[in-house]
């Protein structure tokens, strides 16, 4: 089963590679074939091993890793600009350091649309970092939409805590 799953993933990836050369400009390229077994439940540590909370720089601004957003907005608020600028300066000075920008939305509305909103916020932080000298190769984004709330509850406080981008320093 394990081998079968890896083979079928490989075949699917090959098929994708073979199937769309003429569409290259139109279609996002496939991600590298995964090395993990996809036939069952994965060990969380296997996939989360690229980060932990203690990673990355410290300092008054640099230890702040969360950028918050207003309702239905993806623009960086004035109160977060200094945090983003501090990370930009650090990353520009440390070109081998990579970060993942994890975008989130509050729980209201449709889940897949919220994945889109979370991605918009991640991209907004990515652009801000890139504009301040961080190389694109240092930056990646993922959107979890409303699927991984930081705070429970259905009130304005929880919503505000959940509309966020987390800057995650990678090994």
């Amino acid at each position: 089963m394990k081998n079968f799953a890896s083979v079928s993933v490989l075949l699917a990836t090959l098929a994708l590679l073979a199937g769309c050369p003429s569409k290259k400009a139109d279609v996002p390229p496939p991600a590298p074939a995964p090395t993990t077994d996809t036939s069952g439940v994965e060990d969380p540590n296997a996939t989360m091993g690229d980060t932990d909370a203690s990673m990355g720089p410290s300092g008054e601004l640099l230890s702040k890793r969360i950028v918050y957003f207003d309702l239905d907005r993806a623009d960086i608020r004035a109160d977060s600009a200094s945090v983003v600028a501090a990370h930009a300066a650090y990353l520009a000075k440390n070109p081998n350091q990579k970060v993942r920008l994890e975008g989130h939305a509050d729980e209201r509305g449709s889940r897949e649309y919220n994945i889109g909103l979370g991605e918009r916020r991640g991209q907004s932080v990515r652009r801000a970092l890139a504009l301040q000298g961080v190389a694109e190769t240092q930056l990646s984004t993922v959107s979890y939409g409303e699927e991984r709330p930081a705070a429970a509850g259905s009130d304005e406080m929880a919503y505000a805590a959940n509309r966020r981008v987390e800057i995650v320093y990678l090994k």
């Binding site: 509305g109 649309y113 991605e119 930081a150 429970a152």
Partner: protein
Amino acid sequence: MNERMKKLATVLSMALLLTGIGAATPAWAQLRLTITQGVNDPIPIAIVPFSRAVPADGGLDVAQVIQRDLESTGRFKAMAREDMVFKPTASADIDAAGWKQQRVDYVAVGRVTSLADGQVRIDAELVNVLTGQRVAGPNVTTAASNLRNAAHRIADALFEKIIGIRGAFATRIAYVSVDGKPPKQTYELYVADADGANRVKILASPLPIMSPAWSTDGEWLAYVSFERRVSAVYVQHRRTGKKSMVSARAGINGAPTFSPDDKKLALTLSGSNGNLDVYLLELASGKLTRLTDDPAIDTEAVFTPDGTGIYFTSDRSGNPQIYRMTLGSSERPKRVTFTGSYNARPRLSPDGKQLALVTLDNGAYRIGVQDLANGTVTMLSKGRQEESPSFAPNGAMLIFGGRERGQGVLQTVSVDGQVSARLDADAGEVREPVWGPFLP
């Protein structure tokens, strides 16, 4: 330790293991159905206990399964068994006049028998008490292990005879179950009978699972899983568990739905630049075709029942609205929703004439159904935060995700809004229900 003792020790530890599992499993996300609103004048019916086939029936109370199915629609009121003076099992033994005095309109009776080949058979008969006529006599033969499903099929036939619409009791739902408090939660994908029974775990993960979708033949599920920390779309066989990752491109891989012929998926990809658009993925070849091309969020595509077009959510006008496009046409997508500032997650009725959606109604996210011929929107739910509507394959009901005391629950509602019910989980929260197709 001698051989015999070793064997005993193995058996004992196995038994302990099994008890452990048995104690842990039922507590989580068992679904319990409650009618929250029924019709004003439900049809009175008596479902008399069926004669049994011991031990082939495994102790299943077939009449009770049928009764719960019919009552779950809010359109029937079943007579209590203790009020039944006689308990016939064949229509010939029904004293219509006597039942009429007890104010029931219909009596259903039946028999479960075991056949020589190891199968079991249910014979049911429906008598209209007012006329004294036997109006239906459905029967189903099946493997003994499938008796519950057979009982649902009998309920389907009785429902159709009385109401005029095929019942959707012998169908399945899929849903996502979440346990734990943020930020530490675990996610599971389940398939269960439409009444919440017989649930089977399809997948578990410490990272989000979302957007389950049924194949048209009911054999496969597509879903999004973040088990690799980033999103990927998977297709998994319901029975064998065989799972393939069909899209793991850079950026978002989301919102999969099957084409009516099950050969393609519509899905959402963003690429690394974060622009969500809708694509078509041929499952056999892996060939990918871009369907939408707009800097806005385009997502949540669903095929029309004839497979010639899709409906999808886009915020190209500034806020999310539903659009329709014809596949293989160069025409621009046409906007179809004009009521309110937020319409998302479209799903079509089986006849393609109605669109279920999530709509912002007086500050609350509710389930609406839009008549595609005249644009009229009917609100079907009353909560504040409802999502993921999905039609039953008979088009008479919808299932969707709602909230009760801050927890996600599954809710059903009839398309006329008259009847609603809730499927609560014992623990944790349940969400994103999708109603599967009729089974062959």
